[in-house]
Symmetry: C2
Subunit: 406 residues, 2 copies
Amino acid sequence: MKADILSIGHELLMGELTDSNAAWIATRLPRLGISLNQISIVGDDIHRLVETMSLALSRSDIVITTGGLGPTQDDLTREAVAQVLEEKPSVQVEIVKQLEEYFQSRGQVMPKTNIKQAQLIPSAQFIPNKYGTAPGWWSEKHGKTIINLPGPPGEMNPLWLEQIEPQLRQKTTGEITITRTIKTLGMSEGRIDEILTEHFGQINPYLGIYSKQDGIHLRIISKGDTEKEALDLLTPMEKSITSQLSEYIWGYDTDTPAQSCYQLLRQQNLTVSTWDACTGGMLSDLITQIPSHDVFYKGGLITGQADTEHLGLHDNNVPADARINQQTATDMAKLIKKEMGSDLGIGIIGETEPSNNTTVQSANLHISIVGPNTISEIPINVPARRITIKRRAANTALIELAKLLG
Amino acid sequence: MKADILSIGHELLMGELTDSNAAWIATRLPRLGISLNQISIVGDDIHRLVETMSLALSRSDIVITTGGLGPTQDDLTREAVAQVLEEKPSVQVEIVKQLEEYFQSRGQVMPKTNIKQAQLIPSAQFIPNKYGTAPGWWSEKHGKTIINLPGPPGEMNPLWLEQIEPQLRQKTTGEITITRTIKTLGMSEGRIDEILTEHFGQINPYLGIYSKQDGIHLRIISKGDTEKEALDLLTPMEKSITSQLSEYIWGYDTDTPAQSCYQLLRQQNLTVSTWDACTGGMLSDLITQIPSHDVFYKGGLITGQADTEHLGLHDNNVPADARINQQTATDMAKLIKKEMGSDLGIGIIGETEPSNNTTVQSANLHISIVGPNTISEIPINVPARRITIKRRAANTALIELAKLLG
């Protein structure tokens, strides 16, 4: 089965809001056996809405829209569906009552404009919405399906998971697609390409290779009439890849470097602290995005590259430039580990500003991880753009920690 | 003039990547007198690409695409433009040379596949790209314009600003839209609404009000045949608003809290350091996203709320819970200021984890800013979700610093 997604709203065309709904829905479709034809972002303009919806309906079995279900004159999604399906909407008394109760429960009186949200056409059913005032519409006509959902992700996402996905799963008979992403760091894209050459070029399962901020990702996509059939195709390739790249693999699917570290640190009951003279706090920020980070992250110090004299690291007068090296990173890791009383310490130092010398295309960074009995020193080289340096350095420090513990 | 934007790439339809390019370009169009008809996200499928591009070209004067300019077989944007304009691409020798030099400067040999990027059709000119290997195309035919830009924002954004916008500015003749965003913190949306009631409800200039992570934003949108005409409408409203909300305003337009702080700290030749027992490094991360942060940011300490005994803050055995208060924040600010040798110190402490008590809807945070002769203590209350707490706390600390210095 084929689908089109329409994201509706003037503010999306003004760039005031970046549409995240379409991408979110897009991730949910393959495992339902639905493939996506196109995403369209349209303003609150009835003519453009009707045109785009008709076109989408002509090429797809299912058209999913988000937005434009509010109570104002700008909210035209219902009107567009009615025009496309050539039906006339009428107000449903029981829904008016529900809306009135919704406002009452909040100590408010329902504005008259909200009555608009209680309209329905004969081919549509309401999608009840306990997360807001706008019920969705599910319309079926001439073998085609139109699903209209509210725009706020806080309403759209649970409605999708609770009501839309179970119904679509029963409806679709198409091919099931499953994917598995294997995340590596430390081996070049070219070398991986060579090692896995036998797997590339197949169609089902299909293997893709992608260079990302946190290393080289391999993605297997397999298709089958059932989930089991797809999985039976995927598993042997996954096993082959994991055995060949084992020591370079740090995570799977939606794993982030911080999550991988968290799982390993918790399993081994270890704590870590950081001295960061490179990422300006991004390293700590990534770690503390994990729930319950308090149990494994003891905190850290952020300094400039030239300010490593803090906590007595440098007694002598070594010039600042000469301190940007691997030995300093190791000294920093040792000292912060001691100061914070953690099992592991991470020290990271390097050039964070693009050099004035424009011929310099990359920056040298030094990461050291000091454990109870081990010292790992990891020099890395990254493209010399500020945001790239920060992100690469922070991710690499975490991935190296995960690989060390794994 | 009317435009369509096409974002191209299979990974956008799989939801693996959320398109941010279209929204970014959308924000740049109004001041050029260009209004946006539609954004379409299409996969790497030549048939769908040609169909969507033709349709976009039929309704718009300008079609802007991002993505699909890479060297692989999946990159089909050039092929689609050639088909839509019914022209045949041919390899341009001088561009092949430039590509070879690009790879040479990185100590690499150009893969054969990259020759594809040196192709051109008669109606197109190259858009040189010093940020990557993929040059863009600018095509003109039958009074229509197609602009093809690479997908990575690190390449697309500077190419747009340096090459596309100056050319489009000369080309367009439509109504000019200009906007001015005024960013405030500390006054409620309802109170602002009351104070500015005379300005709401007008059509040109139009005033909008938005609640954001970094406070309440007011946006004025004005339209005119010339930039001056639009500006003459906008300026009186801006002056009225700034005089009425003056002490609550911390920035304008694309200002971030960190940028506002940076400008003020540089003007006054002051440095700052942070002790962060709340945002887990996000505060430092925001500050160090500013170029040359080394000159005003001396670094800081990140600890858990219960770990404030570091650096000798607590000699006595105060229970950890009792330390989460305003006095601790002030003590932290004083100590980090002294330790780092900065002119100002920021201390921030508060509950960062959502409480197990589900009736607790908000978290209390304590921000203190200690200067050479001043102590500012700012208690704030934010919705109790982890990412919200971190972001609100980090932004508020910076905004309060900016308001203090401003």
